[in-house]
């Protein structure tokens, strides 16, 4: 039996236990509650759902019939040159697969001259041989597409490219299909205009980088010596600046806040000129362009920053490649989507011709907006194309914004233990405000849209939505489920709680013993 304690000792023990509990209850519990409470700022989920429904209903814009994603084109005999329509169609489908979702967009080619008794397709492809133009060109007038091809050089690739250019440049917009139906065509599963958009992405700033790439081999060569001369390099820069000025003071300037350019000179060392050059030609002909570009030692491009909401800079590279020696009389050129264009010099360097080619390549890369640079003349349909492009890009940004906001809404609803800071609410409110401004601009008259205001609001809405979803304070707290908290609290507080409870129990038992 334990010896009896004095009253003073018991009172003292009671004070000690209660002082522990006082700190625990009056300081510890409030702090624990304050530091572990999940703060969820209410996010306007119903407003997000309303916007989603509004977009699905076409934003109050006019409706039209389906634009017809399956289009029949009659191919005239002068295009064939011994090639079948089947071959052209296969080549076209190959091009579509690289850039488009061919399952929902196809061109049915019909031999127009052999279509007796059948209903003529709406569109007709006509080909005209011309010695004056060194490269193929496509013009679409109404329902007729004309491809100008060098005489005796008709090929399935040229014709298919011509058709492809026509549709990318003109078809979808020439008939002015309304945005509601186009938006339906832009669903994530089809992705037609998203892939097109990829090739013609809206950017607030465009930077053109012109590189003179001189191939050197062990033989040296007069060509390299000429290209390295200050006069040639000055001429190079002057021509590049002309292209830049044409763009800068042209219609593209109405879309973007800045167009900049730089010129550079690079060298490509070929240890064995003839073999490597043969490989280059083979790569170009077999369309292995990315591997070719990877081998080139291009100077890095300094990206520019802009102050616009979208803050995206589209950089396009244009390379004028001087091989170590001339292998044929004509130059080669090709474009790479989202990268730029290349012109390989032929017998002798021809800077003006190269720059004209670069101009056409810029046309193609920034399509469906047609900025005519090749011959300086105004494009026939620049006004409606620019308008349509801006409106479509606006809708695409709005779609991106609402998809992101809907994802945020689902995230907030499903993860009840995820904190939602007030910054997320502010960002969502800003996104919704910009969304409404963009829709007002879409519904407004032509001039406002031409000034890109709707597009800027839509891009801002998309950006705010992205920032809201990836808010740092919210994302960091996503991965702490309730079970983990128990695993943390138990070893932290368990060893403290046990003696506290034991001490309190003893105090309570003693006080009960004293009661009569």
């Amino acid at each position: 039996m334990l010896p009896s304690e004095s009253t003073e000792a018991i009172v003292l023990r009671r004070k000690v236990v209660l002082s522990f509990w006082a700190v625990f209850v009056f300081l510890g519990l409030p702090l624990w509650f304050h530091t572990t409470t999940i703060h969820r700022t209410p996010v306007p989920l119903s407003a997000i759902e309303t916007l989603d429904n509004e977009l699905k209903d076409g934003l109050g814009l006019s409706r039209d019939d389906d634009p017809g994603l399956h289009i029949a084109v009659g191919v005239k005999k002068n295009c064939l040159y011994g090639i079948t329509t089947r071959e052209i169609s296969d080549e076209l489908q190959r091009l579509l697969r690289t850039e488009w979702t061919s399952s929902v967009f196809s061109l049915d080619l019909v031999d127009a001259d052999e279509c007796s008794g059948c209903s003529m397709p709406k569109y007709t492809l006509n080909c005209i041989g011309s010695d004056r133009t060194p490269l193929p060109k496509t013009i679409s007038e109404g329902l007729e597409i004309t491809v100008y091809i060098p005489s005796n050089h008709g090929s399935k690739e040229i014709i298919a490219n011509g058709l492809y250019d026509a549709f990318v440049g003109d078809f979808l917009f020439f008939n002015k299909h309304d945005l509601g139906s186009i938006d339906r065509a832009m669903s994530p599963t089809t992705g037609i205009l998203s892939t097109m958009y990829r090739g013609a992405t809206y950017a607030d700033a465009i930077h053109l980088s012109f590189t003179l790439l001189i191939a050197l081999d062990s033989s040296g060569g007069e060509r390299a010596i000429e290209a390295l001369s200050p006069e040639f390099q000055t001429e190079w820069r002057v021509h590049a600046e002309k292209v830049w000025n044409t763009l800068k003071f042209g219609e593209l300037n109405r879309y973007v806040s800045s167009i900049t350019f730089d010129t550079d000179v690079g060298f490509q060392y070929m240890t064995d000129g003839s073999d490597e050059w043969a490989r280059v030609e083979q790569d170009v002909s077999s369309d292995k362009l990315s591997s070719l570009l990877d081998t080139w030692d291009l100077q890095p491009i300094t990206l520019l920053t802009t102050s616009s909401n979208s803050s995206a800079v589209k950089v396009l590279q244009f390379v004028y490649f001087l091989p170590p020696y001339s292998t044929n009389t004509k130059s080669l050129s090709f474009t790479v989507a989202n990268w730029g264009g290349v012109v390989m010099a032929g017998d002798s360097p021809d800077l003006p011709a190269a720059m004209r080619t670069f101009g056409r390549q810029i046309d193609k890369l920034l399509s469906p907006v047609s900025f005519s640079l090749a011959n300086g003349s105004k494009s026939r349909k620049t006004l409606p194309h620019r308008h349509e492009f801006a409106r479509i890009a606006t809708i695409m940004n709005l779609r991106g914004a609402i998809e992101t906001l809907s994802a945020l809404s689902r995230l907030v609803t499903s993860l009840q233990e995820m904190a939602v800071p007030s910054t997320v609410r502010d960002l969502v409110d800003s996104a919704i405000k910009e969304w409404h401004s963009a829709v007002v601009n879409l519904r407004s008259d032509f001039d406002q849209v031409a000034e890109n205001q709707g597009l800027r609001h839509a891009a801002a809405a998309a950006q705010f939505a992205r920032q809201a979803v990836f808010d740092k304070d919210m994302m960091l707290n996503m991965f702490v489920p309730f079970e983990h908290k128990i695993a943390v609290y138990l070893p932290l507080l368990g060893p403290v709680i046990v003696p506290l409870v034991a001490g309190l129990r003893r105090v309570v038992v003693e006080s009960r013993k004293k009661e009569p």
């Binding site: 510890g28 702490v480 943390v488």
Partner: protein, 405 residues
């Protein structure tokens, strides 16, 4: 003070001055050791803060300086007598003098009325335990500002033991201003201050108001120096919320290196609460011997504070030396001594392995800090048990036998 004590003072001064003269870079080497100094007491950061202050920039803007603004005034004043470089004669003499003053205060405490009825070690022994303690010597040579905080704290105890309560409150406020954990000593100090007159509401209120007024005065010095109260976030905020995540001899840094941000505030508050929660219970339990309560709380804050140093252990051992009467009842002295010794030897080695050689990792160093904490815990619990046993048995003629069950 007898001649032996003065001889100890002189010998320690000679030792420290010789070490500084013979090994001029020793202060720099020790200043880089995380066991000896932390970002809250580093002399190097004090110099940076002083330089910023002298050129008119707030020293608290860059996140480098976390110490009290009064140190800037002090070292700016010292700068008038010579260079404030760590190995300059002015700083050498100042730090040696501070340590001697601290030892003097300890000797004064041992001869005070509070410990008059107990068996005491000789003054020169108490002074030696402090002045020749390697941990204290290392802290002194590294020019850690903890030397000054500890001097203020021990000075406050000394004045309280001699009923010079106003001075004691001032020194405690000064010590709290430079090291906020000293504020935890306020409850046991109240017992000391009211030991002569009794703890009435009026006396408690008086000392509380005076302490708050002194603290406010020191805080206002910082306000007038920096132009705002923003420095509180850099000083007390850094200490309380563990903003500078750097390894040290404490237990905090390892947790916060690995922790999710979600739990960080909770752990910060829980860890701070852990050192605070013992203050009142210990004060109540040891209300008859407030000096023991003060020593016990100093020991607990040594292991539970956010930026501990080995100098804190040196001060704690020096305070323990005042209570010779508990030594016979201490049971695990050898075990605790060996554990502490092993941890102090291995800590710099494991830190070197981790940081400089790259052949270790943080677990090496943290394991040693755990061992160090276990050693400290053994000392604190053992001495506390011994003190309670003495209190139960009586100091002179134990009339009761305690049987361990």
């Amino acid at each position: 003070m007898d001649s032996k004590t003065w001889a100890v003072f002189v010998a320690s001064a000679v030792l420290k001055l010789s070490l500084n003269f013979l090994f001029p870079s020793l202060h720099s080497i020790l200043g880089q050791h995380v066991e000896v100094t932390t970002s809250m007491t580093s002399f190097k950061q004090l110099k940076e803060g002083l330089h910023l202050y002298e050129i008119g920039i707030s020293p608290y803007d860059g996140g480098v300086y976390h110490q009290a603004p009064i140190f800037l005034l002090l070292f700016k004043f010292l700068g008038k007598f010579g260079s404030t470089a760590p190995n300059s004669p002015t700083i050498n003499v100042f730090y040696v003098f501070t340590d001697i003053i601290t030892a003097y205060f300890l000797c004064a405490i041992s001869k005070s009325q509070s410990l008059a009825k107990t068996n005491q070690l000789a003054d020169w022994v108490i002074a030696s335990i402090y002045l020749f303690n390697p941990l204290v010597v290392a802290t002194n040579i590294s020019r850690s500002t903890a030397v000054l905080s500890n001097a203020a704290m021990i000075g406050s105890i000394a004045y309280a033991c001699y009923n010079r309560n106003i001075l004691s409150v001032m020194f405690l406020a000064l010590a709290s201003h430079t090291n906020i954990y000293t504020a935890y000593l306020f409850p046991p100090f109240l017992l000391l201050w009211t030991s002569a007159t009794g703890a009435t509401m009026a006396s408690v209120t008086k000392y509380l108001i005076f302490y708050i007024a002194m603290s406010a005065g020191l805080t206002s010095i910082g306000y007038f120096m920096t132009g705002s109260l923003q420095y509180l976030s850099a000083t007390y905020g850094s200490l309380l919320f563990f903003k500078d995540l750097a390894p040290n001899m404490g237990l905090w840094w390892y947790f916060f290196m690995e922790m999710f941000d979600f739990f960080r505030p909770l752990f910060t508050y829980i860890f701070q609460l852990y050192s605070l929660i013992y203050v009142l219970p210990i004060t109540f339990r040891l209300h008859n011997c407030p000096l023991v309560a003060i020593t016990c709380i100093v020991g607990i804050t040594t292991i539970s504070k956010s930026y501990p140093e080995v100098g804190d252990l040196g001060v704690y051992i020096s305070l323990l030396s005042l209570f010779k009467f508990i030594f016979p009842n201490v049971r695990y002295a050898l075990l605790a001594a060996l554990v502490i010794l092993h941890s102090l030897v291995l800590a710099p080695n494991f830190y070197h392995l981790w940081i400089y050689l790259g052949s270790g990792n943080a677990n090496f160093f943290y394991a040693i800090t755990l061992v160090y904490t276990i050693g400290m815990t053994i000392i604190i619990t053992d001495t506390l048990r011994a003190a309670l046993l003495i209190e139960f048995q009586g100091t002179d003629n134990p009339s009761k036998t305690v049987i361990q069950i």
